[in-house]
């Protein structure tokens, strides 16, 4: 089997195909700390793409309450168990987070799901969830680990839950692509979006079995598998509503919690992101390392990055997002001026922001966070589209507008 470099694991790993990378890669950062679980994202996707017969149990975007919730039921526990069974007690990391961009979180010494597979019947260790597991997508909504009499406090709450927003990760090494015996699943060279060819799919469900995130789903009425299409007509700007400009997906652009920022990042050698410090996603993932991949140990090199919830016990978060969790929470809690500026870009525009610029403003406030004094500056952040044209300009402090008095007509 060919070897590929997985930068999220800081090492080579085996994959079914030789390395091949898109020019640009679909990616997003989700700030878990801000999600209100309104499911607007879920419904935006549902009402756009999966409203038809046979797609009844399909939720390409879903928001689940961790640690008990999961769609399909216990998907992550099951994948973690497969890894643990194939490599008991050795799913560990070495080295230190904060490393270079081809190994930013140190090195994963355990096995990926590709390495745990037998290679004969499966090239990715996996399973197919049953109908029951696909029902009740929001089971255990808002269910906490405990209900203590006293309140809870930071830095780690003793009773906790959090919302995990999920869609296809349009992985760099997609398990679904590797598993399809007839190349009906493919990754687009222009934007890395992973699609199931509905003309070629024969409903074998090898992709459903293989995807650890369970984001390839079977449609029994057409007997084919379908999955999130990354709203490619919006991303490529071919949807008439985009007026030709690369636009964020449906689930991203509707988010009232302003937790989502989606874009396209440039891919260089060995699938490592090209140096692009003015791309807000690059800045958050590689410079600040504040946003982390979901279950990097699965090995697919997923492309939705999460700012971890700062109140959740760290061992749970380290299992979910890898060893970079502690530093990420520290940087999110005490953001740099750049970071605070970038956070304003979340949901400030429907068009994809390809680069940003920070214009420094005056110091406006001093706040105490975790016993540390922090200064807030009213900087202004400007977002540019793919052609370098300004599409958004927003300041850290929301402008205060006093409405002139008027006579109420009632």
């Amino acid at each position: 089997m060919p070897a590929v470099h997985n930068w999220q694991l800081g090492r080579e790993m085996t994959y079914r195909y030789d390395p091949a990378y898109p020019k640009l890669q679909f990616a997003a950062v989700f700030n878990i700390n801000r999600c209100i679980a309104c499911q607007t994202c879920t419904m935006a996707c549902k009402s756009t793409w999966t409203l038809s017969e046979g797609q009844d149990l399909m939720w390409w975007n879903n928001v689940e309450t961790k640690p008990f919730g999961g769609y399909p039921r216990n998907w992550d526990v099951k994948a973690l168990k497969l890894l643990e069974q194939s490599n008991p007690g050795k799913q560990t990391w070495s080295g230190k987070p904060g490393g270079p961009k081809d190994a930013p979180y140190g090195k994963f010494d355990g096995k990926t799901l590709f390495e745990a597979a037998d290679g004969d019947q499966q090239v990715v260790s996996g399973y197919i969830p049953t109908d029951e597991e696909w029902t009740a997508p929001n089971i255990y909504e808002d269910t906490a680990t405990a209900y203590p009499k006293q309140g809870v406090s930071l830095p780690e709450h003793s009773a906790w839950f959090f919302y995990l927003q999920r869609l296809c990760n349009h992985c760099a090494y997609p398990a679904c692509v590797a598993a399809c015996p007839r190349n009906a699943v493919y990754k687009r060279p222009e934007d890395g979006i992973v699609l199931v060819d509905q003309e070629r799919c024969r409903g074998y469900r090898k992709c459903v079995e293989a995807c650890p995130y369970k984001k390839s789903m079977y449609r029994p009425t057409t007997r084919t598998s379908e999955k999130c299409i990354g709203c490619y007509p919006r991303v490529e700007g071919s949807d008439p509503a985009t007026e030709g400009l690369p636009t964020e997906t449906r689930c991203m652009s509707v988010c009232p919690g302003k937790i989502r920022l989606q874009g396209l990042v440039q891919i260089g050698d060995k699938g490592v992101w090209k140096e692009d410090p003015k791309n807000p996603l690059y800045h958050m993932v590689h410079i600040e390392q504040v946003a982390l991949p979901l279950y990097p140990q699965f090995g697919t090199q997923p492309n939705i990055y999460y700012i971890p919830p700062r109140w959740v016990p760290r061992p749970y978060l380290r299992q979910m997002f890898g060893p970079g969790v502690d530093a990420a929470i520290e940087r999110y809690t005490n953001p740099s001026r750049e970071m605070l500026g970038i956070l304003q870009l979340f949901r400030a525009s429907q068009q994809i922001v390809f680069s940003y610029e920070l214009v420094k403003g005056p110091k406006v406030e001093e706040v105490v966070v975790d016993g540390k004094t922090r200064e807030i500056f009213n900087d202004t952040v400007i977002g540019f589209d793919s052609k370098g044209k300004e599409i958004v300009r927003i300041s850290v402090l929301e402008p205060f507008v006093e409405r002139p008095g008027y006579l109420n007509s009632i």
């Binding site: 049953t130 509905q198 789903m217 009425t221 057409t222 084919t224």
Partner: protein
């Protein structure tokens, strides 16, 4: 010569097994050496595994093995398939039957797989005899695949049955819209797996992973599960509309391979039971379908009976000898 007790037991068991095989008429042969003869029949055959004339047509057994050549490997639960063939007015009919204790006709269960069977022939335009492993570039194969779930028409109707109170927003849209490529892409794009009106798909391939729909979907079929056995009849005119498909002619030989999928075993794709190519011989002249060869059967029965007696005697002797030894 002194025989040890285990050796005698083994010989006895083998003799009995052989005799029983003789009695049940199983003809074991390596796949390659098998010839399936398609005789011409005067009456138009029915597309029905129970068509009365089938009992008069001799069968051949083709051994199947697990598919162990390419990913995804699998199968191994169906050891053999029994084949019969006839032709009538330039149309070929092939009947395949195999033992399967479970009837798997999943309707909409996402984790369940269907029972299925496929016949594979060299494509008409093949420049040489193709590999029975899905052909090779330039020498493709033509595959007719029958699936239990497709025959059941599983789909919308099955969905409504399983979830009677289920509701899909699109149900309110006019039929031409919901059946269109936009809402049912696989169906709208003509992917044969999405069809609910045909149990058999006509396919072509030129290597692993290249299986695709033939331009003309002209093979048809019907299957039935009864008492732990599937029986499926396929038919297609000798000539097909497109050149990638197989071509048949009375008096000519061609090749045939079989694959069986056991849904209960999670079989699909390459996870299947496969044969190698066997010879398919289409008889030139019209022959009256012969009744079973009673002479051969009587011979088999008598020989089998004698062998059972011999085997039992051997087992008995071993038992007596053992007891005697213990006493000594």
């Amino acid at each position: 010569m002194k025989w040890s007790k285990p050796a005698v037991l083994l010989v006895g068991a083998l003799v009995i097994a052989g005799a029983l095989a003789g009695l049940t008429g199983v003809r074991t042969a390596t796949s390659q050496a098998v010839t399936l003869k398609a005789v011409a029949v005067a009456d138009k055959p029915e597309l029905n595994p129970d068509w009365a004339t089938w009992v008069k047509i001799p069968s051949v057994d083709v051994q199947l093995t697990n598919q162990a050549v390419t990913y995804p490997k699998g199968g191994g639960t169906v050891p053999a398939v029994s084949l019969k063939a006839v032709h009538h007015e330039n149309t070929l009919y092939i009947r395949a039957s195999w033992k399967d204790q479970t009837e798997n006709v999943p309707s909409i269960d996402m984790a369940a797989f269907t029972d299925a069977v496929a016949l594979e022939f060299p494509g008409k335009s093949a420049v040489s005899v193709p590999s029975f492993c899905m052909g090779q570039p330039g020498s493709g194969v033509n595959i007719w695949q029958w699936k239990a779930d497709a025959q059941a028409g599983a789909g919308s109707a099955a969905l409504a049955k399983l979830y009677p109170n289920g509701y899909a927003d699109s149900s309110g849209f006019p039929e031409e819209l919901t059946k269109a490529a936009l809402y049912q892409p696989a169906f709208g794009l003509g992917n044969p797996v999405a069809r609910t009106d045909a149990a058999v798909q006509t396919l072509v391939a030129q290597a692993f992973g290249t299986l695709s729909a033939a331009a003309a979907q002209d093979a048809t079929g019907a299957g039935m599960w009864r008492n732990g056995e599937w029986s499926v009849v396929f038919t297609r005119p000798f000539s097909a509309a497109d050149g990638d498909q197989a071509e048949f002619a009375a008096g000519k030989n061609t090749n045939l391979a079989v694959a069986v999928w056991d849904g209960a075993n999670g079989d699909r794709a390459g996870q299947k039971n496969v044969s190698q190519f066997v010879t398919l011989q289409l008889s030139g002249e019209l022959v009256k379908a012969k009744s079973e060869d009673w002479g051969a059967l009587w011979f088999g029965a008598i020989l089998g009976g004698v062998l059972v007696v011999l085997g039992l005697a051997a087992l008995g002797w071993a038992g007596v000898a053992g007891t005697a030894k213990e006493r000594a």
